[in-house]
């Protein structure tokens, strides 16, 4: 189809509108593609398939109300006058269970991998920060060493000058 050829040329020039591109996609999906344009079918198929890729379900949605529930529970216990020691024990235990988890803005995310990756990133970040502040100092030391080298040369020159002067004096 001549129209499709032209549209495709326009597409490769980057001049098609979103609607025109939809038209092209439909065309290639239809299966009724001319032999010369057939080689481009897969390209549009790729675009079509990629839109279906999805993220893993994000974690923050999970366990939204857990914190609130915990608070209410503790308050109830206190009000019913059950041994205060029990309440305190429970309170202490909750945030400090040995599991790996994260609490982001009051929401608990019980995911070991997430917690581990977070820690990994943080530690790497500290590494970067330290190296950043160390490098200028290391650089200055290096520069200092470089600067000192010409001084050594100067000393050599002075020695030579002295030798020369001695020669001149002797000649006199």
């Amino acid at each position: 189809m001549e129209i499709m050829n032209e549209l495709l040329e326009k597409y490769f020039r980057g001049e098609t509108s979103v609607d025109e591109e939809t038209e092209l996609k439909q065309y290639f999906k239809s299966g009724n593609v001319s032999s010369e344009l057939k080689i481009y079918s897969s390209l549009f198929e790729v675009f079509d398939s990629e839109i279906n890729e999805k993220a893993n379900k994000p974690l923050i949605k999970v366990i939204q109300n857990q914190r609130k529930q915990k608070r209410i529970w503790i308050r109830t216990f206190a009000y019913t006058g059950i041994a205060a020691s029990l309440t305190l024990l429970l309170f202490l235990k909750f945030p400090f269970q040995v599991d790996n988890y994260a609490v982001v803005s009051g929401n608990k995310i019980e995911d070991t991998e997430f917690a581990e990756k977070y820690v990994e990133k943080k530690l790497n970040h500290v590494k970067d920060m330290l190296n950043k502040s160390m490098t200028p100092m290391n650089d200055s030391f290096e520069n200092l060493r470089k600067d000192l080298r010409p001084m050594n040369k100067l000393i050599n020159v002075k020695v030579k000058m002295d030798e020369l002067q001695n020669l001149i004096q002797i000649k006199k």
């Binding site: 980057g14 001049e15 897969s42 990629e50 923050i60 939204q64 990756k117």
Partner: protein, 171 residues
């Protein structure tokens, strides 16, 4: 922004974030991590999100910048492990339909980051030029130029491969 609004406005964008991250990083696992990171960051700053006019553009731009940071950091250490590397078609390889799709994905991933990001934002996500310009912090014109370059490059490679396949078939 409270958690309800966040769940309704930001969380549904995760799939788009993922596809963008995957396109930039060329690695599915890293992309998943990057998305999690972004969601956490956005959640921590959810109070500021109310003032943002274009939430979609703003968050997509944040995703891209986060990924570019990852690439920058990784450059200093080890090589970024990509899911696929593109190489010229071996004349002895058969090209089947499924293979071709894989190879075209490779071709796209092999484009420079900006080009592959732009071509996917347009041809997969169907975003307008002005939106893409906002996300990439470029002018619409620059986006247009990169888009056509990307498409031309892919076309070139497709034609090239097709030629090689034909040569092989004639042998």
């Amino acid at each position: 922004m409270d958690s309800n609004q966040f769940n309704h406005l930001v969380i549904p964008l995760s799939d788009k974030f993922f596809r963008l991250a995957k396109s930039i990083l060329c690695n599915g696992e890293l992309a998943q991590d990057a998305v999690q990171d972004l969601i956490v960051k956005l959640w921590e700053k959810r109070d500021n999100l109310n003032e943002v006019e274009n939430l979609h553009g703003f968050t997509m731009r944040a995703m891209r910048n986060l990924c570019l940071d990852i690439i920058r950091k990784r450059k200093d250490e080890t090589e970024l492990q990509t899911d696929m590397e593109y190489s010229e078609l071996n004349p002895y390889q058969q090209t089947e339909q499924k293979d071709l799709i894989f190879r075209i994905k490779q071709m796209i991933n092999n484009l420079p980051e900006l080009q592959r990001t732009i071509i996917r934002m347009r041809d997969v996500e169907g975003l307008d030029l002005d939106e893409i310009a906002f996300i990439t912090s470029l002018t619409e014109n620059a986006v247009s130029v990169n888009l056509s370059r990307a498409r031309q490059k892919i076309r070139e490679r497709i034609l090239n491969e097709n030629r090689k396949v034909e040569e092989m078939q004639w042998k």
